[in-house]
């Protein structure tokens, strides 16, 4: 009872502020509503006892990435609309993408209902006091079963970081 109240509370906040984020004209307002969406999603993570996901969502997305977003929005002139954004094709592309995502979600939900236990919905969740600490579980699966993809992702991030340093490097020292 209380669980579903909390879930629908966070879920409705997430959906409503996602809609507001798309419809606002002011970019900072959009950013604020995106932050609200991310926070509400983090709240759902916390309710599902995925505490590590909750804190990384907040530290990375809300604390890091969104602050940088706002930083950039504040520095860029947004009152001058870019010409390439006003393309006629954009509406149709957006419609197509939205339909594709909708169909994909519907198919996944249907499949998950047909094969219980194999899809997204877990039929018998473990009771709250018998869950393993999920920080440790996450570390085990990242550094155990998924070590190679994890390392590849870190190399990718490293490449991006080195690239940023090279691009930002001060070249005044060169003759």
């Amino acid at each position: 009872m209380l669980d579903s109240v909390i879930f629908y509370f966070f879920a409705s906040i997430a959906v409503v502020s996602a809609a507001l984020m798309v419809t606002r004209r002011n970019a900072i307002h959009s950013a604020v509503f995106l932050i609200t969406t991310l926070l509400a999603t983090a709240g759902i993570f916390l309710q599902l006892r995925a505490e590590f996901l909750f804190s990384s969502q907040i530290i990375l997305y809300v604390g890091g990435i969104m602050v940088l977003f706002i930083f950039v929005i504040m520095l860029v002139r947004l009152d001058v609309p870019l010409p390439q954004i006003r393309s006629r094709l954009q509406k149709w592309i957006a419609l197509f993408v939205a339909l594709a995502v909708g169909v994909e979600a519907g198919v996944v939900l249907l499949l998950a209902r047909k094969v219980p236990g194999q899809g997204l919905l877990i039929p018998n969740p473990a009771p709250a006091n018998q869950l393993h600490p999920n920080t440790e579980e996450l570390a085990r699966s990242l550094f155990g079963s998924y070590l190679l993809p994890f390392e590849i992702a870190s190399v990718l991030l490293l490449v991006a970081m080195v690239g940023a340093v090279v691009m930002a490097k001060n070249r005044t020292g060169a003759p």
Binding site: F52, F54, L68, I70, T172
Partner: protein, 454 residues
Amino acid sequence: MSPTLHSIVAFVQAWWVELLCALLIVLVVPLIAGYIVLVERKVMADMQARLGPMRVGPHGLLQPIADALKLLIKEDLIPDNADQFIFWLAPVLSMTAALTSMGAVAFGPWFQVARDINIGLLFVVGVSALGPLGIVLGGWASNNHYSIIGALRSTAQLISYETTAGFALVSGFLLAGTLKVRTIVENQRNDHAWYIFLAPVGFFIYLIASIAETNRAPFDLPEAESELVAGYMTEYSGFRWSLYFLAEYANMIVVASVGTTLFLGGWLRPFPNVHWLGWLDAAPALLFAAVGAYCVFRAGKQPARVQSLFMWALAFACFVVAAIFALASPFSHLPLEKMHDGLYGAFWFLLKDSAYIYIFMWLRFTLPRFRFDQLMRLGWHILVPLALINVVDVSIALALSSEFGVNRWLAMVVTTAATLGAAMLLVRWNDKYSAAASAALLTDSSVAENSHAG
């Protein structure tokens, strides 16, 4: 009874301790923040050989309450060109983040709101990462150049120093082997050492980073009075301004609590395992009795009758607290185990917190403000690499002592020496580099000027 009401009643019955703790935090933290301001003014006055606030109440003890009243009845101004919605939202966001992050802090063995949350300190660090957002949005919404410069400075500073603080905390987490607040503290009892002694460099890096994160001098560039009026809160007045102010002091309590929990043994008495130091349990009662006696001594010397009455009341309160501590102490042999744990835990925890905050004040009135490039250089060229090296060295020490059976203290001393050596090298390289860089900058600009003139 309807099912909704029933489930609410069941909820309250199951969680009343947590709800009470949350209520206590929300009610008491603003008051404590006000008194931290008073203590700060008193410490500043002491360091500058003055008396500080003395008029409102004996020794200025009612000053915070007078200030709060003044702020409440001040006019609440919103600039015409400000973004109304975000101007309203920003201070609320800062304050909410600061108070929420206090939820996972354990002020004693049972005084904690989110008790079995298994990310513990990470929750505190994560939620307090929302605070900068309030500062940035507030600075932007004010539509004022000083505000926006303050907001930009604060963003850059907080992102840089959060990285540092995170790595410094990792060295402590490695020693504790867990993120759970209670287990961290219990492990320090079982390891027979506070982690400040096992990872001293980590603690000092965290101390510096936490001062920078709370925007306090010498890192108070976002609100540098002499450059930016008041930085991001230039346009704020009255109660909104005081929300920012409260958030800053609540954040001080939060970072001090994180440092205390991870490095200073949390709510544990100093030397909890040493049996012959058991007399330390008498310290709280004796301390409060001594303060009460001092109040009695000062009561006769107050200039006004009201003030000496107030001093008598204060002395009485101190004696009552001392009596409660004495009753709950192990010497009284009363069956008050739980009360003893809670009271004494809170006492030692708050004592360590106060010491930590005192260091903040001490540094504020001793060091001049950094320049912005110095701040960035210290953060990225020295502290971040040093924190990384420290994490590696602490892991090496742990591996040496657990896998190869080297004495724990020997491993710790060797790796700390290695970290300090690396720190010296870093500083030396940085000096050389920055000297070269500024020389290059100088010649460059002079060349540019000459060519312009030519």
